[in-house]
Symmetry: C2
Subunit: 330 residues, 2 copies
């Protein structure tokens, strides 16, 4: 069904600010969820509010705090807050530091559940005219190359670059399938592709339940994907003070950014990155359509959806949201 | 054949310092070539001295210079020097800046030919207790995902992390096969695997000559490898002032590093990164042997070879080197 974006947003904010989060905090969390809806990545969207362990029910232990700070860095302890809020705080602080110093790095640990799509934060940082790298780890589900036991999380990484108009934002998970992909296939009684996971004995499997007891493979089934997963574990887990190579534990994220003006005048960088897009799009493709530049082309779609004022959402999910909204407002 | 490392090194330094480079510069270039030999990556080693366009014959136009400098950065113009020397200078400056400021970024452009294996520089930086990221671009040979025309270089990326003993160093190219792999297969009249390259019409090919007229595929044949190749093009080409998406042009590299002490006490970081290695190695593998940690395990092999004082080298190459050495000394 089509719903008004403003209506959905107000409902989401109301729902989150009911008990545990302030209106301000709810708005920051809603922003991340709505972005996922606007990009069409709706597994990262408002679905989370009606799934198990929803953000609005995650009770912080204490207010997020900075436990180490230098002119170039801030190390956060999120106090058990929901990951999306924690990542917003780390992003804000990063923009402040890198805006002032030319470079910044912030880390976040002790948050609950996922941060949402990290491309959102990379886009936000790149729109402030900063180049950025973000890494997030999670409980182990992906095997090291040659391994038959989970070692790394699905470990996404994101990169953002300003241009003359839309930022370029590239994000990717280190795993051949997402954990949610397994959960979904299992729930729907579907099989998974034969080359994305192994069972507990290390044999390829198409059974999502067997894969969940076994390991997901690195995205390229080689040492390269495994190496990138390890890099994320080092940046997001080891360097942030969070857990690493873990089952039960503390997810971590690291956010880094620098100004292109460390290297050249900002307008020159933007002119050059926009020119790179033009060059990439000028090359022949199999389909005859211009190559898609990550983040950049998506931004036009987001804009279009935003301007239309309406968004597509599964009726069932919207009804569940509305039910929750009414229960708690009456 | 086995040759004494010291003898090989002296010969290489003599050869390079004959005409265009000082003894000091020759030693810096030789260090990169010898490292490749010690790691067994001998396509990046002394073979270069007897191949086409050898380093010792690359005449610099002018002395490498810094064209922009801030407390956190230095932008180099290499003046046409050989890539290995240029990368050594950028690495030295990076270590100086990041050692002083906690973060540093240096870029290098206007150098001739490849920098050699960028893992060498990542290792050097990590041994100075810095976490680093390096990216290098090169003339276009790799298609964008869905593309059928070369867009990106083979675009390697490297990451380095200090530990309590050997650094972790991960480096990878964004391409499914190296350009040298095509050259070699063509010279030996061999075919290449069916899933690493396409011809000029975009059809998979096993003919290296057809692949050289067509495109190499991203290493994972998907949008992820293509996205990483684009990230390298942005960091190493766009941000450095070098060329990007180019045939004839100016190769570029970017070197970034930060101190773990921005985030936690250095000994804590090293204890944690060493612990990550132990955890990774504790997981079951298909072969029953402990997982190989990139760079880390290699370092033990380098040490062993260094301590033995001797190295394996193809007799033919050594004879060619010796001939060059004698011609120019008499």
């Amino acid at each position: 069904m089509k719903v008004k974006i403003a209506e959905l947003q107000a409902m989401v904010e109301r729902l989150i600010s009911k008990r545990l989060y302030s209106k301000d905090e709810a708005a920051r969390i809603a922003e991340v969820l709505l972005y996922a809806e606007l990009t069409g990545k709706n597994t990262q969207g408002v679905l989370k509010l009606v799934s198990a362990n929803p953000p609005q029910d995650i009770k912080p232990q204490y207010a997020p705090k900075i436990v180490r700070e230098t002119p170039l860095s801030a190390v956060f302890d999120a106090g058990g807050a929901v990951g999306m809020l924690a990542a917003q705080l780390a992003t804000d602080k990063l923009i402040e530091i890198a805006g002032r110093s030319g470079f910044g790095i912030t880390t976040m640990r002790n948050y609950s559940s996922s941060t949402g799509a990290i491309g959102f934060f990379a886009r936000k940082i790149a729109r402030k005219d900063l180049i950025c790298v973000i890494a997030s780890n999670s409980p182990r589900s992906v095997a090291h190359f040659g391994g038959i036991e989970p070692t790394y999380g699905t470990n996404p990484m994101a990169f953002g670059f300003p241009t003359m108009d839309n930022p370029i934002v590239f994000d990717m998970a280190a795993s051949a399938i997402t954990w949610f992909g397994l959960v979904q296939a299992k729930a729907l009684n579907q099989s998974i592709p034969g080359d994305v996971a192994i069972d507990a004995d290390g044999k390829p499997t198409t059974d999502p339940a067997a894969a969940m007891k076994g390991s997901i493979l690195p995205f390229d089934r080689s040492y390269k994907g495994s190496g990138l997963a390890m890099v994320v574990e080092l940046l997001a887990g080891v360097a942030s003070g969070a857990s690493y190579v873990f089952d039960e534990g503390d997810w971590g994220s690291t956010f880094m950014a620098f100004s292109p003006s460390l290297l050249m005048d900002l307008p020159d960088f933007k002119r050059r990155s926009s020119d790179l897009i033009a060059k990439v799009k000028s090359k022949k493709t199999g389909s005859g359509q211009a190559a898609r530049v990550p983040g950049y082309d998506l931004e036009f779609e987001i804009l279009e959806r935003t301007e239309s004022g309406e968004i597509d959402i599964a009726t069932e999910i919207f009804e569940q949201l509305r039910a929750k909204d009414q229960v708690t407002t009456t």
